[in-house]
Amino acid sequence: MSDFSSALWAAFSLVIQLDSDLAEIVFLSLKVSLIAVSGAALIGMPLGAALALFRFRGRASMVVLLNALMGLPPVVVGLAVYLVLSRSGPLGVFGLLFTPTAMIIAQLILVTPIIAALTRQVIDDLWREYEEQFRSLGAGPGQRITALLWDGRFSLATAVLAGFGRASAEVGAVMIVGGNIDHVTRVMTTAIALEVSKGDLALALGLGIILITLSLAINGVSYVINEKARENHG
C-alpha cells in the first residue's frame, strides 16, 4: 500500500505546486488529443452515417473492416506513421516527425475508426426507426445524413468520448512518432512511461492519477452538458 499512498501524495503535491512542467505536459496532452478527436469526428461521423444509410457492393465487408479497425494496435499505427513521416519515408520532406503534428496524425488514425464504427451503429438504429418518414418526405442523401447525425447527437457524444479516451490513454503511437522530447512532445502517457523506466513508480502512478482525474472531469462535464441539452430538447 505504501506505493499507492506515496503516489497519491506525489499527485497531490504536483497539483498543489502548480508544477509548470506538469502544466505544460497536461496542456500538450489535451491539445493533441482534442485536435485528433475533432478531426476524427469530422471524418468519422459522415463516414459512419454514409455506411449506415447507403447500400452498395462491399458494404458488409467495410462494416466488418471498420469494426475490426477499432482495435488497431497503437504501436503498429505509430510504426506506420513513423515510416511515412521519417526523412527516408514518402512524406519526410515536411519534417513532421517528432512534432505534435505527428502525434495528432497517429491519434487521428487510431480514433477515426472508433468514431465511424460507433456512429454507424447509432445511425443504423435511428434509420430503422425513421426510414418510413424519410422516404415519405423524399429527403435526399445529404439531408438524411445531417438530419440523422443531428438527431443522434446525444448518443454520438458517447462515441466522441470513447475516441477521446482512446487518444488520451494510448502511449505506443505517440512514443514512436513524438519521441517523448522534453518540452516539445512529452505528454502524460509518455511521461508516465519515462518515470517507470527511471524506477520512480510513485511519481509515475501520481501522474496516472492526474490523467485519470482529467479524464473523469472531461466525461463529467460532457455528461452534464448532454443532460442539460436533452432537457431543453425533451
Binding site: G39, L42, V93, T101, I104, L108, G179, L201
Partner: protein, 269 residues
C-alpha cells in the same frame, strides 16, 4: 462531406505553434544518458549559451542508430563502439568523437545465490550464473547494453539463448524496465552505471560485480552526414559536438553527480 485533405491541412496549421522559436537539433541517444539525468544537467548550459535547443530522442543504441540512418536525427550519441564505427564507415556519419565513459555493473540480489561477488571478472561471474541457473534478465533489445552483455557471454563461453525462457529472460525493453523486472524476480542483470545510480526502484538488488576492464562503457558522438541526408543541420550539430568535446562540455559532464557520485567521466581528446 468535407474533403479529408482540407481537414488535415487545417490541423497542420493549428498544430505548429512552436515553429518560430529558437533553432533546434535532434539528438538520437540512449536511454542511459536521458534516464540518469545527464542531459537535464548539461543541456541547459549549452542552450543558454548558444540558444540552440537540443531535442533528445532516448532509445536503445540499436534504435538510435536506425533513426540516424533514416536521417531522423542530426547527431548520434550512443555507446557501442563497433556499431558507431560501422555507422561512420558506411558513410552515415561524418566522424566519431570520444565523449565520455563509465562502466557496466552486474546487478543481482543481495543474497547472491550464484555467488558471483567472489569471482574475479565479469565472464567468471556470468559463468557462475549460468551454472547455478539463477534468473538473469537480459535487455534483449539490440541496445548498447544488450550488445555488451552478449559479448560478455561469448567471453564466458556460454550461449544463454539455449536457456531463453528458462533462467535467461529476455525482456526486450529499456534498462529501467529491465531493472524493474529484475527487482521483482530477484534476478541478475547487466546495467550501465548511470541508469543504476539514478534508479529508484531497486528492491533487494545491489552491485555484485564491477571493475573488470571488459565492463568499460565508452560513449561516442557523431554528426550525421549531409551526404546521405542533405537536410541534416550540419552547422548546429557540429557546434553541439564541439561544445560537448570542448572544455566547457567536458567540465559539465564531469560535474554531473548522482547522490554525490560522479556518473560519467569525460574522455574527449
Amino acid at each position: 462531406m468535407i474533403p479529408k485533405t482540407s481537414i488535415l491541412l487545417l490541423m497542420l496549421a493549428l498544430a505548429n505553434p512552436v515553429a518560430a522559436e529558437d533553432p533546434f537539433i535532434i539528438v538520437a541517444s540512449t536511454t542511459s544518458t536521458e534516464n540518469s539525468g545527464l542531459f537535464a544537467h548539461i543541456l541547459p548550459i549549452f542552450e543558454q549559451k548558444t540558444h540552440i535547443r537540443v531535442r533528445v530522442i532516448a532509445a536503445g543504441t540499436g534504435q538510435a542508430i536506425r533513426l540516424a540512418i533514416n536521417g531522423d536525427a542530426d547527431v548520434l550519441l550512443v555507446h557501442h563502439r563497433a556499431s558507431e564505427e560501422a555507422f561512420v564507415a558506411k558513410g552515415y556519419g561524418v566522424q566519431r568523437h570520444d565523449l565520455m565513459y563509465n562502466d557496466f555493473v552486474v546487478i543481482g540480489p543481495r543474497k547472491d545465490p550464484a555467488n558471483i561477488a567472489a569471482m574475479d571478472g565479469a565472464a567468471a561471474a556470468l559463468t557462475n550464473i549460468a551454472n547455478a541457473e539463477t534468473p538473469f534478465v537480459s535487455r534483449g533489445d539490440d541496445s548498447g547494453t544488450h550488445k555488451k552483455e552478449l559479448s560478455l557471454w561469448r567471453a564466458a563461453g556460454t550461449d544463454p539463448n539455449k536457456a531463453s525462457g528458462a533462467w535467461y529472460q529476455e525482456v526486450g525493453a529499456s534498462m529501467g524496465a529491465a531493472l524493474n523486472t529484475a527487482a521483482v524476480m530477484n534476478a541478475y542483470t547487466l546495467s550501465d552505471r548511470g541508469t543504476w545510480l539514478a534508479f529508484a526502484n531497486r528492491g533487494d538488488l545491489v552491485i555484485l560485480s564491477k571493475g573488470d576492464p571488459k565492463l568499460l562503457n565508452p560513449y561516442g558522438v557523431i554528426l550525421v552526414s549531409q551526404n546521405k541526408h542533405p537536410h541534416v543541420k550540419t552547422e548546429l550539430g557540429q557546434r553541439f559536438i564541439d561544445w560537448l568535446t570542448g572544455p566547457e562540455g567536458q567540465t559539465a559532464i564531469a560535474s554531473f553527480t548522482i547522490n554525490g557520485e560522479q556518473a560519467f567521466f569525460p574522455s574527449a581528446q
